[in-house]
């Protein structure tokens, strides 16, 4: 590794712009003649829209238009789609109600838009919105899955009787029942996985600009995947064909999944820009983010695990109700099925697994993938189950895990996934050593003397990243391929531009992707730039989510680099009158091995573009592209251990220590990886202790601001102790597994296991607020 190559903690190139306020986010962009949109949103969780009177608003000077749900439907703008088809156990396709970009007749969650005001200023649009009178007829509403599936519950969509979207199963039911019949012990657990609001720092924003003469749209949007946005907007929403629609996702301030999807506001902005002949900008505020950004999680689960007499797991049964909210968001259907139930084997040999997942509509904000997406729910279930089992079977929780770890690879689970490689004992051993697991009993006794309840909790997670290959996901219902593309352009002066279909919204691609080039060519990263986020610049890409950018996106870059290097070597060999096979690349030079003959990269590049003296038949130029489709998922895994104290008087939790031992395969930039783990742990701990998107029984949201929704803050978190145990991923040439979601996947169970250990009671739901913990301590 060079100073800036693979494995070096290079300082992030993009940070200069971000920390000096020079980033260019969508809301920073101002176009000539731009107008501002303000949405009129339903205050009711469920209601009929009886009429919209915009006459007074239209009289306000500076108001350009008031457009309604009826008009967008009349103009045949398509309904929002769900991109992954799930089949129920009875063979029927999933049952979905229509989701128009603005509600023409019925609103089904608080915050759903019924109309939009377009005006010369943002403030005017807001003023005018107050002058629009919407007449609603309220309908009964339902917010939680348990109530929604009851007979007589308010019904959301006629297409989905009983509010049921699907009833899906995976695994071998008969084999699982047989395993339970023979079991020595069965451990049962009821769990709720709390609903979360993603809250990226930058709220969503969109600017649509329609060019009447060219019949061409430009959309600036806060997207994690601009090409997918363009594909969906043109193929399903009738906005424009792809060559008449340019989507730009410039600097984007965090996504965590919530910016994968195409939202109604972007569609409305595009449509309104054509209707008004003016650019239209919309930037959401924090309340709109709480009400309309896709939420995460929200499962209610019953699980049972069967053990034989020697404490080996023999079977697992899971039944989960997943709350989808009022509409099926873009990837929502896949989250509690293929991203959740396929991970239910965890790090363990479980010969028989059967899971049933029932997807349910409720009058709440739509739910979709949020950092981890299904995998945190699976990991939380298994790791609470292992802890509960250890307590019930009266064995050490770490020992019970070790006795059941998968140790032979590759390993085929009973739920689709085939793990390629891993060493679960290594990561658990590393974490136990880091936290001095053996010395815990002594520390607990000391804490007790000081009036504190001390607990320790283990969580051994595995996840599946870089979701792939395209053929496999296609056979499971995915509407898209999950490869990535890249292009390497060597300019005539030898500087390099990497065009990637991955999108950086906090991940640091502008640094890590350059490090691969530095590693291979020995040039400084300052000579390399990363181009992403613009459909006019990058031909196609699947974007960034599911920890896929390094494992898939960077591998695509590697493939393109290899092609470029092969051509450059030919040019160098020709110039040096040497054999191509003798050319090696070092420190930015093409050298003939064993000699002092060399030609620098800029000279090779110049030769490629002057084309004065190229090998016979070679095309000029030095530019190559590649599409890379992985052969399997990657499987990051690790062990987290949390030690904490509970104040019995208040139920407040304080961290003593939190250690993480992750196996991410090869690390490109350890510092950036560390940052990713810190952020993930913060979100996992946030879910365990703090965060909860709550609705009252009438489906009114009661946590739509930071006064009520507890975002994790720095002082809520411990100082993490991170380490790595590495097995290289055999599925890609760089050996990378991915690190973006691990913290959020593994942390929550470690925290709850530690609290339940401290208080000596197992029934505790997330978030473990002081009130809840205190109540549990004092419960019978």
């Amino acid at each position: 590794m060079g100073v800036e190559g693979i494995g070096a903690s290079v300082v992030r190139k993009e940070d200069k712009r971000f920390i000096t306020g020079k980033g260019r986010y969508v809301d920073d962009i101002k176009l000539p003649g731009m107008t501002y949109a303000h949405f009129i949103r339903s205050p009711h969780a469920h209601a009929k829209v009886k009429g919209i009177d915009s006459s007074a608003a239209l009289k306000i000077p500076g108001v350009v238009a008031v457009l309604t749900g009826k008009e967008i439907v009349d103009d045949k703008v398509g309904n929002l789609i769900c991109g992954w088809a799930i089949t129920s156990k009875d063979g029927s396709p999933m049952k979905m109600g229509a989701w128009p970009a603005m509600a023409p007749e019925t609103v089904r969650f608080v915050g759903q838009a019924v109309a939009v005001v377009i005006a010369e200023t943002k403030n005017l649009a807001r003023d005018a919105a107050e002058a629009v009178v919407v007449n609603y007829e309220e309908l009964p509403a339902v917010a939680d899955v348990t109530s929604a599936i009851k007979a007589g519950a308010p019904q959301l969509h006629p297409e989905a009787p009983g509010n049921q979207v699907y009833d899906w199963v995976i695994g071998d039911e008969a084999a699982t029942s047989a395993a339970f019949a023979k079991a020595a012990n069965v451990v049962k657990l009821d769990l709720t996985n709390n609903r979360l609001a993603p809250n990226p720092m930058e709220p969503r924003s969109a600017i649509a600009d329609y060019d009447t003469a060219e019949e061409h749209y430009t959309l600036y949007t806060t997207s994690q995947n601009p090409h997918v946005a363009r594909l969906v907007l043109s193929a399903f929403y009738n906005i424009a064909p792809e060559h008449k629609l340019r989507v730009i996702a410039p600097d984007v301030g965090g996504g965590f999944g919530s910016k994968i999807y195409i939202y109604p506001e972007e569609m409305v902005a595009l449509w309104a820009s054509k209707k008004t002949g003016r650019p239209v900008k919309w930037t959401g505020d924090r309340t709109e983010a709480f009400l309309t950004d896709a939420h995460g999680r929200d499962h209610v689960t019953h699980a049972e695990m069967a053990f034989d007499a020697s404490n080996k797991i023999v079977g697992l049964k899971v039944k989960t109700y997943a709350n989808f909210g009022a509409y099926m968001s873009l990837f929502s259907s896949a989250v509690p099925t293929y991203l959740y139930a396929t991970l239910l084997s965890g790090q363990y040999v479980i010969p028989a697994i059967h899971a049933e997942v029932i997807g349910v509509y409720t009058n709440t904000t739509p739910v979709d993938a949020y950092r981890g997406a299904g995998r945190p729910e699976a990991s939380y279930l298994l790791e609470r189950m292992m802890e509960t089992a250890a307590r019930q079977l009266k064995v050490d929780p770490a020992a019970l895990r070790k006795a059941n770890f998968i140790t032979q690879f590759p390993y085929q689970t009973p739920v689709i996934m085939a793990y390629d490689v891993g060493d679960f004992n290594a990561s658990l051993d590393a974490a136990m050593k880091a936290i001095d697991y053996a010395g815990f009993a002594g520390r607990k006794a000391q804490a007790k003397a000081a009036g504190k309840l001390r607990g320790i909790g283990v969580s051994c997670y595995i996840e599946a990243c870089g979701i792939a290959p395209s053929k496999a996901v296609g056979s499971l219902g995915a509407g898209v391929g999950l490869w990535e593309s890249a292009e390497v352009r060597v300019n005539p002066v030898g500087t390099i531009e990497i065009l990637t279909g991955s999108h950086s919204h906090g991940q640091g691609h502008e640094t890590t992707f350059c490090q691969l080039v530095a590693e291979r060519l020995g040039v400084p990263i300052s000579q390399v730039s990363i181009v992403h986020g613009d459909t006019d610049k990058v031909q196609f890409g699947m974007g960034t989510y599911g920890s896929r950018s390094a494992a898939v996106g960077l591998t695509a870059i590697l493939k393109a680099m290899e092609k470029m290097e092969a051509k450059a070597k030919k040019i160098a060999a020709h110039a040096l009158e040497a054999s191509e096979a003798d050319i090696v690349i070092e420190n930015g030079e093409f050298k003939v091995t064993g000699t002092d003959k060399a030609i620098a990269l800029p000279m090779v590049a110049l030769a490629a573009y002057t084309a004065h003296n190229l090998p016979d038949g070679m095309e000029p130029g030095l530019k190559e592209s590649a599409f890379y489709d992985p052969t399997n998922f990657t499987f990051p895994a690790g062990a987290y251990i949390c030690e904490l104290e509970v104040d019995p008087g208040t139920g407040k939790t304080s961290f003593v220590n939190f250690v993480a031992a992750d196996d991410f395969g090869r690390l490109i930039n350890p510092m950036i990886v560390e940052g990713q783990v810190h952020g993930g742990l913060a979100q996992g701990i946030g879910q365990a202790l703090l965060e909860h998107a709550v609705y009252d029984s009438n489906a009114q949201p009661i946590t739509a601001s930071f006064m009520d929704y507890t975002m994790p803050r720095a002082d809520d978190l411990p100082s993490f102790k991170l380490s790595h145990t590495t097995t290289l991923c055999p599925g890609n040439p760089l050996g990378i597994k991915g690190c973006g979601e691990a913290g959020a996947i593994g942390a929550s169970a470690a925290v709850i296991n530690a609290i339940t250990d401290a208080i000596g009671k197992n029934n505790l739901e997330m978030p473990a607020t002081p009130d809840r913990v205190w109540r549990t301590i004092h419960s019978a």
Binding site: L690, I702, D708, R775
Partner: protein
């Protein structure tokens, strides 16, 4: 935010006269409550009269047995004031717990007491210490000042100019922060006056705002020690109950925080 007219007053009298001229005027101090509410369009004052730059409204002074904090003094100044730390350390400590640094640099004691948020910190100290609220018209004793949620004895247009705290023999504050807002989910201020009286005020817990708790006062008068609160029973009726704290949890917190406040007071 709706259109409004901003005025910067240079004296209390000028502020009061500007207030009289506006159709729906509002005083602005630190703006930490008023401005967010205006941004959300929940308040639409015709005129905003800024008190925060009036010199006579800024400063912390100790004289004899009284500590006076002028109304537009930001929380940060109180938290770091040598005079406050010397005279009533519990009060400086309380100010250091309000919000975050940005809030403490702007938010003021006058704004906090005028607003009388049921979860604000200053009302607990003001009531427990038996402070006097000085206005441009009169002086109001703490026991007569707080009238329930967001309600005070202030008349329309009346300006708080200062708050005078009698220096106690002992005082302590213990705050259990609301996990999200970090206001007080329950905060308890205990004070033992120089004449031996004990006053306990609780914020964040009651449906009717800051309150004194006679049972705690009696127990502590009999025995000034953290363990004295153990035998007190706090009913949960009349207490707030919400996502972050049920009424019985708050009742528990009142006792636990009272004990910790006494320990802190020494």
């Amino acid at each position: 935010m709706y259109q409004t007219t901003y005025h910067r007053a240079s004296s209390v009298d000028e502020a009061a006269s500007l207030f009289g001229k506006g159709s729906e005027a509002k005083y602005l101090s630190g703006g930490q409550t008023l401005l967010p509410v205006m941004k959300q369009r929940l308040a639409s004052p015709s005129d905003v009269i800024d008190l925060a730059k009036i010199k006579e409204l800024i400063g912390v002074e100790a004289a004899g047995d009284t500590l006076t904090i002028k109304a537009a003094t930001p929380h940060y100044d109180v938290a770091t004031s040598a005079a406050a730390k010397q005279a009533i350390p519990a009060l400086a400590y309380l100010a250091s717990l309000i919000g975050d640094p940005a809030v403490r640099y702007r938010g003021t004691i006058g704004g906090s007491l005028a607003n009388n948020d049921p979860a604000a910190d200053y009302p607990a100290a003001t009531l427990a210490l038996g402070a006097t609220i000085k206005t441009n018209k009169r002086t109001i004793g703490a026991d007569d000042y707080f009238k329930g949620l967001f309600t005070t004895a202030l008349e329309d247009g009346e300006i708080i100019t200062a708050v005078s705290f009698p220096v106690p023999a002992k005082a302590g504050y213990a705050k259990f922060p609301h996990p999200a807002s970090r206001f007080a989910l329950t905060g308890v201020f205990v004070a033992k006056t120089k004449s031996g009286d004990v006053r306990v005020a609780v914020t964040g817990a009651s449906q009717s705002g800051v309150m004194r708790v006679a049972a705690l006062e009696n127990a502590l008068k009999a025995n000034w020690s953290a363990s004295a609160v153990d035998s007190v029973s706090i009913p949960s009726s009349g207490l707030l109950s919400d996502l972050h704290g049920s009424s019985d949890y708050r009742a528990n917190l009142i006792k636990v925080m009272a004990g910790r406040a006494v320990t802190a007071a020494g």
